[in-house]
Symmetry: C7
Subunit: 96 residues, 7 copies
C-alpha cells in the first residue's frame, strides 16, 4: 500500500458482502447508522495527545474492522476503492 494515512487515520478496503465474516453484518433498523466491514491496509502513526505524547494505533494492518458506512472519505487508488477514516470511527475489530 502506497497510501500513508496521517495521524490516527487508517486506510480500509471494504469487504464484499459475499465474503463477510460468518453471516456478515445486516442493518436491521434504517434510522441507525449502517456499519460495514473492511480490512485495514494501512495505518497512521497515531494521534498526538495534548501533552505531546503520540498514542499508538489500536488497529493493526490486516485487522477486519467494523465502521459506520457514512464515516471517512472514499478514494480510488491504482484502480481500487479504499476508505480513509479515523480510528475513532472504527467500532470494533472482528477477531478470527
Amino acid at each position: 500500500m502506497q497510501l500513508k494515512p496521517l495521524g490516527d487515520r487508517l486506510v480500509v478496503k471494504a469487504v464484499d458482502k459475499e465474503e463477510m465474516t460468518k453471516g456478515g453484518i445486516v442493518l436491521p433498523d434504517t434510522v441507525k447508522e449502517k456499519p460495514v466491514e473492511g480490512e485495514v491496509v494501512a495505518v497512521g502513526t497515531g494521534k498526538v495527545l495534548d501533552n505531546g505524547q503520540k498514542l499508538p494505533m489500536e488497529v493493526k494492518v490486516g485487522n477486519r474492522v467494523i465502521y459506520s458506512k457514512y464515516s471517512g472519505t472514499e478514494v480510488k487508488f491504482d484502480g481500487e476503492d479504499y476508505l480513509i477514516l479515523s480510528e475513532r470511527d472504527v467500532l470494533a475489530v472482528v477477531e478470527k
Copy 2:
C-alpha cells in the same frame, strides 16, 4: 464473542422484554429517551485520557446494563443482533 470493541465501547445483547429484570423498564413519558436493558458481551480496553492514561472500563462482561435506546450502532453478527455503544451511553448497571 469475536467482536472486540475499540476504546470505551462495549457490545451489548438486548434482553427480550419477557426476560427483563423484575418488572422490567417501562417508558412512562414519550418525549423522554427510551432506556432499554441488555447484557454486556464484550468490552473495549477503555478510554485514553488527555494525559495518555488508559481508563479501565467500569462495565464488565456479563453485566446487565440500562442504556438509551437511540444510542449506539446495531450490528448483526453470526445471525445475532448486537449493539455497539460507548460506556458513557450506559446509564446504570442492574445489580443482581
Copy 3:
C-alpha cells in the same frame, strides 16, 4: 436499590407534590425550566477528571435534591418510577 448508576450519575425518586418540603416548589414562569424535587436513592462512583482522578459525588443517598424536570432519563424498575440524571443537573440539595 439495585440500580447502580455509572460515573457522575444518580438515581432519584421523585417526591409527590403533597409531600414536598415546606411549601414545595412552584414554577412561576412557564418559559423557564421546571425544577422538581426528589430523593436520591443511588449514586455513581463519580466523574473521572482529565488527569484520571475520580471526583467523589457531592450528593449522597438520602439527600433531597432539586433538579430540572427535563433533565435525565426516566426508568421504571420493580414497578417504581425513577429518574437517572447527572450530578451536574442537580441544582441544589434541600437541607433539613
Copy 4:
C-alpha cells in the same frame, strides 16, 4: 436558607425595583439581555477544575449581584421566589 446549591451555583433573592441600588438598573436596549439585581442567600462550594482543585466562590452570601434575567432556574421555596444560577452568570457585584 435551607437550599444548598451544588458546585459553582448560588441562590439569589431578586430585589424589588423600588429597593434597587441608587437609580437601579434600567434596560435601554431591548435586543440586549436584561440584567437584574439580587441578593445572594446561599453559595455552593465552588467549581472543580480539570486538575481536581476546587475553586472557591468569588461571590459571598449577602452580596448584591447583577445577573442576566434569562439565566438560571426559578424556584419557590417556603413561599418565597428564588433563582439558582451559576457564578459565571453573575456579571458584577454591587459594592456598598
Copy 5:
C-alpha cells in the same frame, strides 16, 4: 465605581462620538461587527485558568478600549449607562 465585575469582565463607559479619539471609529461595512470606543471604569480580578492560576487583566482602569458593539450587557447604574463585557471581547487598547 461601585460595580465590581467578576472574573475577566470589565465595566466600560462608552465614549460619545464627538469625543472619540482622533477621527473616531467609523464602520465602513455593514455586514461586519460594529466596533465602538469606551473608557474602562472597573476591571475584575481576572480569568482562572484550568490549572487554577489567576490570569491578571491586560486592560486597566482608565484605558480607552475598542470593542464590538454587540458584545456585553448594558446596565444603568446611578443614572449612567455602562457596559459589562469580557476582556476577550476587547479588540484593542487605544494608546495615548
Copy 6:
C-alpha cells in the same frame, strides 16, 4: 500606531490591489473564502495557553500577511481603515 491589540490579535492595513505582491491574489472560486493581503502594523503580546504560558506572536510588525476577507473587525482610526484580527486567522506570511 496607537492601537494596541489584545492577546493574539493584530492590526492589519489592507494592501491596495495595484500594490499587491507579484501578480497579487485572485479568488478563482466564489464558494471559497476570499483571502486578501495586508501589512501588519501592530501585534498583541500573544495568546495565553491553558498552563498560563504566553505564546509569542509568530507574525511581526511589517510582515505582509494573507488572511480571509471575512475574518476580523474593521475599524477606522485617524482617518485610515484597519482590520483587527486574530493570528489564527492569518493564513500565511508573504516573504520578500
Copy 7:
C-alpha cells in the same frame, strides 16, 4: 516559494488529473467529500500544543498528499493557483 504558512498550515499545488498517481483518485460517491491530490510546496512550523510544545509537521515539502477538495483556502500567487490548508485536513501521503 515565498508563502510561509502559519502554525500547522501547508501550501499545496494541486496536481492535474492527467498527471495523477497511477490511476489517480476518482470520487465514486457524490454525497462524500471529494479528495484531491497535490504537491506540498511549503509547510508551517507546526501546531502549538496546550502545554506550549511545538509539534513538528508530519508532512514535508515535496510530499504528494491527498486532501478533501472543500478544505482550505485557494490563493493565486505569482500567477499560480495554490491551496493553503491545515495538516489535519490532509488525509494521507502518497508514497512513491
